[in-house]
């Protein structure tokens, strides 16, 4: 829609920033914004466009992180293969979940996804022989692009930017293509969509699969960037909530929204961490108190999130045309 110029500015700024900014702290923040933004955009494909609200997306993120880490440490091949492998496994699982839970609507689907991510959490933290159990996996640093052993954070910005743009373009596709409209119809009224001949089930499953694969890719890159995979973090409900939070605050079912949401949340979080790290680490939770309140407010008064709210203001002042 009209958000495309805004998105172009956002991504161009992110891509050009490394040319100007040399500060490792700021670049680290930018990488995290793009990773969490991509993950939120991936969540948005299932949660926003298809209306399949999941609070178990950390399962796919963790799968990607583990696939990349295990492939590197156990078989000593490139993490890019791990990324691909993670995406394939996540797609397969997304397929199974999509088909099995197809009947489930609303809170039932949420419960099923939470349960699934908890199963993976237990497997990840207890299956010592394969996943190293609760200790997690440190990812070895082997210099080179092929091994993703990159010390220069500027290169990382460009790598995750590519993923972010891909995630954004999927959103744009869903906003403009016939399939996207069909998916929106399924989300708004599945029975009506079915009666018009929309293949509701197939569309929903496809959305979940795409969302899962993209989330896994985020997890794989994140694991290589951070250099450590902790099962209690990558499979946590908190992480799933983080994806959903960024997407809802930014704008449910909008292409740019998840990135704006992630930028807002990550900025405040990083700032508080820098301020209160160490002794007052508990105070970092303040940002989640704020965003929890924001979430409650947003779903009630601005269901289209930040993007929808801004669009509404612009339209009211005649700056952009009405929605098609």
């Amino acid at each position: 829609m009209k958000a495309v110029p805004a998105a172009a500015v956002f991504f161009a700024a992110a891509g050009l920033a490394p040319l100007v900014v040399r500060d490792a702290f700021l670049l680290d923040g930018l990488v995290l914004i793009l990773v969490w933004g991509s993950a939120a955009a991936a969540w948005n494909v299932a949660g926003g466009y298809a209306g399949q609200i999941s609070l178990g997306h950390s399962a796919f993120f963790g799968l990607g992180a583990y696939a990349a880490a295990i492939v590197v440490t156990r078989w000593e091949v490139t993490p890019w293969l791990g990324l691909a492998l993670g995406a394939v496994v996540a797609t397969a699982i997304g397929l199974v979940i999509g088909f099995l839970s197809n009947r489930l609507r609303g809170p039932y689907f949420v419960l099923a996804t939470i349960a699934f991510s908890q199963v993976l959490l237990i497997v990840g933290s207890r299956w010592r022989a394969f996943t190293s159990g609760s200790e997690g996996i440190p990812v070895p640093f082997r210099p080179g692009f092929w091994t993703l052993g990159i010390a220069d954070k500027r290169v990382w910005v460009w790598i995750v930017l590519a993923l972010a743009v891909l995630a954004y373009l999927i959103g744009v596709y869903l906003e403009r293509a016939r399939r996207g409209y069909q998916l929106a119809a399924v989300r708004e009224d599945e029975d009506a969509a079915l009666s018009l001949g929309v293949p509701a089930r197939r569309l929903k499953v496809a959305a979940i699969c795409a969302s899962a694969a993209l989330t896994a890719a985020c997890g794989a890159l994140w694991a290589q960037y951070v250099g450590f995979v902790d099962p209690f973090y990558v499979f946590s409900v908190d992480l799933s909530v983080r994806f959903a939070l960024a997407a809802v605050i930014g704008g449910l079912g909008t292409a740019l929204g998840p990135f704006l949401g992630a930028a807002l949340i990550t900025t405040v979080e990083t700032y508080l961490r820098a301020q209160f790290g160490g002794i007052g680490a508990g105070l970092v939770g303040i940002y989640l108190i704020i965003y929890g309140c924001v979430l409650i407010v947003v779903v009630r008064w601005a269901p289209q999130g930040l993007v929808g709210w801004v669009e509404e203001r612009l339209r009211r002042h005649g700056l952009v045309g009405a929605r098609p």
Binding site: R103, L104, P107, L111, I114, R126, A244, G282, G292, I296
Partner: protein, 293 residues
């Protein structure tokens, strides 16, 4: 196998407390059609309340429980008026996000106020063991079971025979018709929410002498409550009670047979299987989940 009596009684004790958590969740769903994703956080707050009353004032957790019942009713009523009331007729997704938002706020409030430290309520009787036949039991567990059963029974009686309980059940059956009959459904929802929160707050006080207290302590219990509630049919109180005992059986016998490390996997897989095969639960009406109720 002389372990059987111990396992059976362990199951009963565990199931009783699970039931109290599950009943609060299912009554809210049954009447309001809302799955409360902040349920675990209210449980956690109940545990903290018992902890602070014990540490600062020297109150026994069971005394706290009795004293806190009106407090929880008030907290429930206030949180309904502030947060849940405005979305009670909104779409499911809005309700999911609202309760998730509430859960984020409460959990991090506990984190900021009381840090992530794991705390314990060390009553004088926490290590006292009772022997029944060949089996040994913690006193706190037995007391928790007794109180949980009494509270659940009281709630059953309230729903079954009191006039207010009848009104609540009528609203659960058909909110439009009951509104037409002159029932103030908004007040019924507020009361339901308050009663559900009171159940889980009381359960927190019961759990405090047995389990460690920390900001995310609610999650493990509320997962079990979700399993029980879905298994029993969302909104079905008797179903939740039986299912709580079933889940406790799976947990106790599972950890005995295959070890404690993997016991959670058992009931989570059971949960997923139920959701896939019969989401309406063992006793619920078929098709309820597809209607989006």
């Amino acid at each position: 196998m002389n372990a059987i009596p111990q396992l059976v009684i362990s199951t009963l004790l565990l199931g009783g407390v699970y039931a109290l958590i599950a009943v609060g969740l299912t009554i809210i769903f049954g009447v309001m059609r809302v799955v409360n994703f902040a349920h675990g956080e209210f449980l956690m707050l109940g545990m903290y309340l018992a902890f602070w009353a014990f540490t600062l004032l020297g109150f026994d957790p069971y005394l706290t429980l009795v004293l806190s019942l009106p407090v929880w009713l008030a907290v429930g009523w206030a949180s309904y008026r502030a947060v849940m009331g405005p979305v009670v007729n909104a779409s499911h997704n809005v309700q999911v996000f609202t309760t998730v938002g509430l859960s984020i706020v409460l959990q991090n409030l506990a984190l900021v106020l009381w840090t992530a430290d794991v705390r314990f309520v060390r009553t004088a009787y926490y290590a006292v063991v009772v022997r029944i036949g060949g089996a040994a039991f913690n006193v706190a567990q037995i007391v928790a079971f007794g109180i949980a059963v009494a509270l659940t029974a009281a709630l059953f009686a309230f729903m079954r025979w009191s006039y207010t309980g009848k009104i609540m059940r009528a609203t659960a059956q058909d909110r439009q018709a009951s509104a037409l009959m002159g029932i103030d459904t908004d007040r019924v929802y507020a009361l339901t929410w308050a009663v559900g929160i009171t159940c889980v707050g009381a359960a927190g006080a019961l759990l405090a002498p047995i389990y460690p207290v920390y900001p995310t302590a609610g999650l493990q219990f509320v997962l079990i409550a979700y399993v029980s509630v879905v298994l029993g049919g969302l909104g079905d109180m008797a179903g939740a009670l039986i299912a709580s005992l079933l889940v406790a059986t799976v947990e106790v016998f599972g950890s005995y047979l295959i070890g404690t490390a993997w016991k959670e996997v058992l009931y989570l897989l059971l949960f997923i299987a139920i959701l896939v095969v019969r989401p309406a639960g063992l006793f619920g009406q078929r098709g309820a989940e597809a209607l989006g109720t």
